[in-house]
Symmetry: D2
Subunit: 154 residues, 4 copies
């Protein structure tokens, strides 16, 4: 069984980007529970790997492929099978003007994933925004343009 | 041209309940703008009658038909073509336990509609929750059960 | 007893600006209930005229005197003793940079007051923000600068 | 210089409970930055140890001493000087009825602290709620009772 290491945490997220399900299931359990906080359309606890991958797909779609995450560190508690990875994440909402600096159009936050591993795979995950712009997160996820009209991409 | 009266405001909302589009367009303009506040999935400014009717349909669907509004008063400014109707609205989220008193499952708020009329029809509307439970509104609209899992009906 | 008219609604708000308590109590009842929505420090239902005047004072203080309200219309239901006045309100948070356009620093919303009158005085009031920037209101009221640091004026 | 260990993370929080400033400064730097998310009255980035201790004091005061945190695990990245401790935190708002289960009265959340250490002391911290009840946090922190009236203890 693969040991829990910082490299394995990184590889788990790299597998998501490949879209290769055979590779993804080396790191993420089929009965994964993954919680996204908030009251927006994509919030809540997904209770399967497919549910979680649907969420990831929506995030890519809403950001028009502009999503960028820079990982700064990984923390571990190996005995308990826990990892935390710290990231700075930026994205621009699909269809928003390139020069907009509105929090409705821009995602620019610190966020961490808290993962619990069993038998070498993630069985439980939390997405957690933190820091200065946490309060702006619902604005980006909302179906509104800065002027209040409904977005085209929701 | 029909005058703006409290009776006409009541009739406008009654027409929505009939689902009869010919009757609805006697009161609501085709190019109606209607704003729903918040950052939930159904928030934003709808910019056509069809968009607005889609919102109304979602509200009925999410509440499993349990939506109940009791109108207490209508205020008017006839020269400016403005009406406000005050309501107490209750609903139980589709699929939620009958005995739940969680704000995730129950909608129990005071709400008003602010409408602007031109040539006898509503051209602009605002849905506005107010009073003690305004803060709970995003919980009801969210895709979460009280325990954090994703709802079946979203 | 003074009748409920649009002029009387305007006069009630004008009295607040004078700070003259003798004049204020001509329009606002001593046992006034006044509700401010939200979860910020100044939210909740104030249950006396003094509580309400304390809220108004905090609003002036937080905005460094920059608060500006432009009334566009008054709606009435005279039999029920109800008034609604519509306003566009702007303010800049005390201590914020003059050129900031952050919603943490700027208040730029449509808001209405729903008032219930008895014996010529307001006995119950609701402050209600509506429209495109409703979601930004908690940011202005929060004790945070746009960079996340605590404000000097809170 | 003391090494970063799980024991040292635990001791840092234990020192806060003693109220002994000499002991506290063994773990927490005088120029500590500590961020509390949200738009409530106590949110924002505190930029000194005294500011942070004031926040902790408010938390104890608002919960009428009922605050209880159960730590489940500590994660580390020793090279980067980072720790995360996971907790379940419960509290009942001071003055609230003993049998209330309203989220306005009860704090019942998972929360973590993300700490950055330099020279054996915490120089930067984040309080981060996560999981199913994250959305309820602003209700507890608000100055409102469940019925919307202002709280006595705010």
């Amino acid at each position: 069984m693969a040991d829990l290491t910082a490299e394995r945490v990184v590889a788990a997220f790299d597998s998501l980007a490949t879209g290769d399900r055979d590779r993804i299931v080396e790191y993420w359990a089929e009965d994964l529970n993954f919680t996204v906080p908030g009251t927006h359309a994509y919030a809540g606890r997904y209770e399967s790997l497919d549910g979680f991958l649907g969420f990831v797909g929506n995030l890519v779609r809403l950001s028009g492929g502009s999503l960028n995450a820079t990982r700064s560190a990984v923390l571990l508690n190996i005995e308990e099978g826990l990892s935390v990875d710290l990231n700075h994440i930026t994205a621009k909402h699909a269809g928003s003007p390139a020069d907009s600096d509105s929090p409705y159009d821009n995602y620019d936050i610190d966020a961490l994933h808290l993962l619990r591993w069993e038998n070498g795979r993630v069985v439980e995950g939390q997405f957690v925004a933190y820091g200065a712009h946490t309060e702006d997160v619902p604005l980006f996820w909302s179906p509104r343009n800065p002027d209040g009209s409904r977005r085209e991409v929701v």
